[in-house]
């Protein structure tokens, strides 16, 4: 068995493993149960896609896609940061994972919470720090 055969075989194994990883991550994104879980799933999906592009680069020699992988990493990072800000702005968590009912009035909630955050967030944090 030549080195090239070993490489071909390991590339196929790696593609199968990565596809399984994609599948499990998507199951987590669909199941939730909370918004941070889904965002984490999307972050993981970007990471797995970068790995997939690297394996495809070894398999076919189309290394042009490595540029796309770098851009994908940048977009994934910015998306996660933006979603983290969104979680902060959206305000108090609703336990139990029944978020679907609340998606409809998300705009009203954001307006409400922005007002609350502006009034309360910083003074409350300071008081807690002094108290502890």
């Amino acid at each position: 068995m030549s080195a090239q055969d070993v490489l071909d075989m390991s590339i196929n194994i790696a593609l199968v493993l990565l596809s399984l990883a994609f599948l499990l991550t998507i199951i987590r994104i669909v199941k939730g149960p909370t918004l941070p879980d889904r965002i984490l799933g999307l972050d993981m999906l970007v990471g797995a896609a970068i790995g997939y592009i690297a394996v495809i680069g070894v398999k076919t020699g189309y290394t042009l896609y490595v540029d796309i992988a770098i851009a994908l990493g940048l977009v994934g990072f910015l998306a996660t940061v933006a979603f983290a800000r969104f979680i902060l702005v959206r305000g108090q968590a609703d336990e139990g994972g029944m978020e679907d009912g609340h998606e409809l009035d998300a705009d009203a909630m954001i307006d409400h919470k922005i007002g609350e955050l502006g009034a309360n967030a910083t003074p409350a944090d300071n008081q807690e720090k002094q108290g502890s």
């Binding site: 987590r28 909370t34 790995g51 690297a54 290394t63 979680i87 108090q92 968590a93």
Partner: protein, 112 residues
């Protein structure tokens, strides 16, 4: 001697894909968002990084090698920041730890 590089690339690709799979299994199996973050950011980053390094070793082209290594460095820089921000936001907003958690060092209420 050229064979040795090919074998190294094969091993790195398999290990990287395995770590990506382990990260997604952790994403499914672990109980709350904070422990899932351990799996996704550490094992996931290691998996993608190993596969990009494998591409850098396999390639003959200097441009591809630098791009793959820049991708690794960039990914290593951004993944912890993104996870940290997400964890801080989730904790600040009040997503609770799972019941299996042993302690919560950031908790203000039950300090003795």
């Amino acid at each position: 001697m050229a064979d040795l590089g090919t074998y190294v690339v094969s091993i790195l690709i398999i290990i990287g894909a395995f770590f990506a799979l382990v990260a997604s299994v952790g994403l499914i199996r672990l109980p709350d968002v904070y422990s899932r973050m351990h799996a996704a950011s550490k094992a996931g980053t290691l998996g993608s990084g190993l596969m990009l390094i494998a591409l850098a070793i396999y390639s003959d082209d200097l441009a591809t090698i630098t791009r793959a290594l820049i991708g690794v460095v960039f990914f290593l820089l951004t993944a912890p920041i993104a996870s940290h921000l997400l964890a801080k936001a989730a904790y600040a907003v009040g997503y609770r730890l799972s019941d299996l958690s042993v302690m919560d060092e950031m908790s203000k209420s039950d300090q003795n």
